[in-house]
Amino acid sequence: MSKDSPREEIERMIGKRVENMKGLYIVGAILSWVATAFGVWVGFTYYPWAYAMASGIFALIVLTVIIVFAFIFIWKTAMEKPVNP
């Protein structure tokens, strides 16, 4: 049997709370944008006959929008208080 109080047991079951993972969300979004920008740079540097720089920039803008939307939804899911606590 566990010697923890019910409150401690619940905290142990939860582990790290989603509200306390802000760093992970911010660093994750920045790293995914950097990886995306690197991929676009590789595309128009090594395959200029197929991917003009303007196409690459356009793709990067569209993907940036996707990353920003994902970040907003993640932030909302993690930080929003229950409507019916």
């Binding site: 619940i10 939860i14 994750g28 395959y47 197929a50 994902a70 939804f73 993640i74 993690a78 229950p82």
Partner: protein, 187 residues
């Protein structure tokens, strides 16, 4: 809505459901990215034969066929901690099962596709080796939709999200909570 028995404390279940939802958002944005690449790869193949499998559009496309199955596999592993998301007979959730089967089909197709393109260098969209790419992804998306409805319905029941005002949508969530994601007879 139907009340599910609470097998774990409410607070714990809410936190775990939110973690699953965050994983789904990440995988959804990865899937949105591959939709963009469908146009990029398609436009390349309008102008070029398949001189190599190693084009930027293919790196972009194929990396998703690795990232998405791995991500959904991670969801399947974490999903075991949430009793209300279990499928029939305590198995994997039906929606997740369909998603994993869909992506397994897609991974299998990568090999089939390379064998085909060893002989034929065209990249016509409708050739048979591309069929199971599309069938696998559509199957996976259908399963993921069923699963996300199930997660969201449980979040509504626990008071994390607002219930839908449209009665038809409310009925859909009610069926999802009863474990009937696809019809009244198939669990």
């Amino acid at each position: 809505m139907a009340q599910m028995p609470a097998l774990i404390p409410k607070e714990v279940e809410i936190q775990r459901l939110k973690k699953v939802m965050i994983m789904i958002i990440v995988l959804g944005s990865v899937a949105a990215s591959v939709e963009v690449d469908n146009f990029v790869d398609g436009s390349l193949h309008q102008t070029s034969i398949r001189d190599s499998a190693f084009t930027p559009a293919h790196w972009w496309l194929y990396s998703h066929f690795v990232a998405l199955p791995l991500g959904w596999g991670a969801v399947m592993i974490y999903d075991r901690r949430i009793p209300s998301l279990r499928g029939p007979n305590n198995s994997v959730n039906t929606g997740l099962k369909i998603t994993i089967i869909g992506y397994l089909g897609t991974m299998f197709t990568i090999g089939i596709n390379e064998m085909w393109h060893f002989w034929f260098v065209e990249e016509i969209f409708a050739v048979p080796n591309h069929w199971s790419f599309n069938m696998g992804v559509v199957l996976a998306f259908m399963g993921a939709l069923g699963y996300v409805v199930r997660v969201y319905a449980r979040m509504i029941e626990l008071g994390v999200e607002s219930p839908p005002s449209n009665p038809y949508v409310a009925e859909m969530y009610k069926m999802a909570l009863e474990g009937k994601l696809y019809s009244r007879s198939i669990p």
